[in-house]
Symmetry: C2
Subunit: 124 residues, 2 copies
């Protein structure tokens, strides 16, 4: 963070009272996380975080998640090399969803696609 005022969606952001006070985890201890590329703004993936994943993300500035299927913490790109550098973490109005704003030089999807959202549902 520099001296410039932080903003998102064209409005200044407010600091929250600090983790974990400003994040409400669900009854499984999880929140969904939208991973968004800094600058271009594309949504790369959506995954889940528990309190420990969020703590590690804030501490290491790389993206940590909780795998619901493997029931373990994972550090995105630790095996593939496509690490995500976390620039900011935003939290929504009801404190139950996060955005990790990242720089992701490589593909974010395990399929090799830049974004996991590479398929389209036709409108009616």
């Amino acid at each position: 963070m520099t001296d410039e005022i932080a903003s998102y969606a064209g409005e200044p952001t407010l600091p929250c009272n600090g983790f974990p006070d400003c994040v409400r985890f669900d009854d499984r201890g999880l929140v969904p996380v939208v991973v968004q590329q800094e600058g271009a703004g594309e949504v790369l993936m959506v995954a889940w975080a528990n309190a420990e994943a969020l703590r590690r993300t804030l501490d290491t500035r790389t993206s940590w998640f909780w795998s619901r299927s493997r029931k373990e913490l994972w550090n995105k790109g630790a095996t593939s090399g496509n690490m995500q550098q976390v620039k900011r973490v935003l939290v929504d109005c009801d404190a139950d969803t996060l955005i990790y704003v990242v720089d992701s030089p490589g593909p974010a999807c395990h399929t090799g696609h830049r974004s996991c959202f590479f398929r389209e549902v036709p409108l009616g």
Copy 2:
């Protein structure tokens, strides 16, 4: 959709086999939905959809969700007037998360903010 090839995150998108085949709802019958402003790319909100909300979204090209607290379908902006025009619906690699790409002329957050993500969790 025009004749131009649809793309997202700099890559062409693939059509999926049609709703609901290409969307997997969770054991509550829900998927998370990221609502993203077309063009600028800002994430405006994250909410939930069930199959009926998605069907109405595809049919009406306005954004429908399922309220977990009120246990009812809601059409965003139907009371406030800040309707979201849905331009595209994207689905992720494991078919359990959606993006509604919308044009949202007004604020998307019930607080009056442009985006629900107006608060920032400080990095460590």
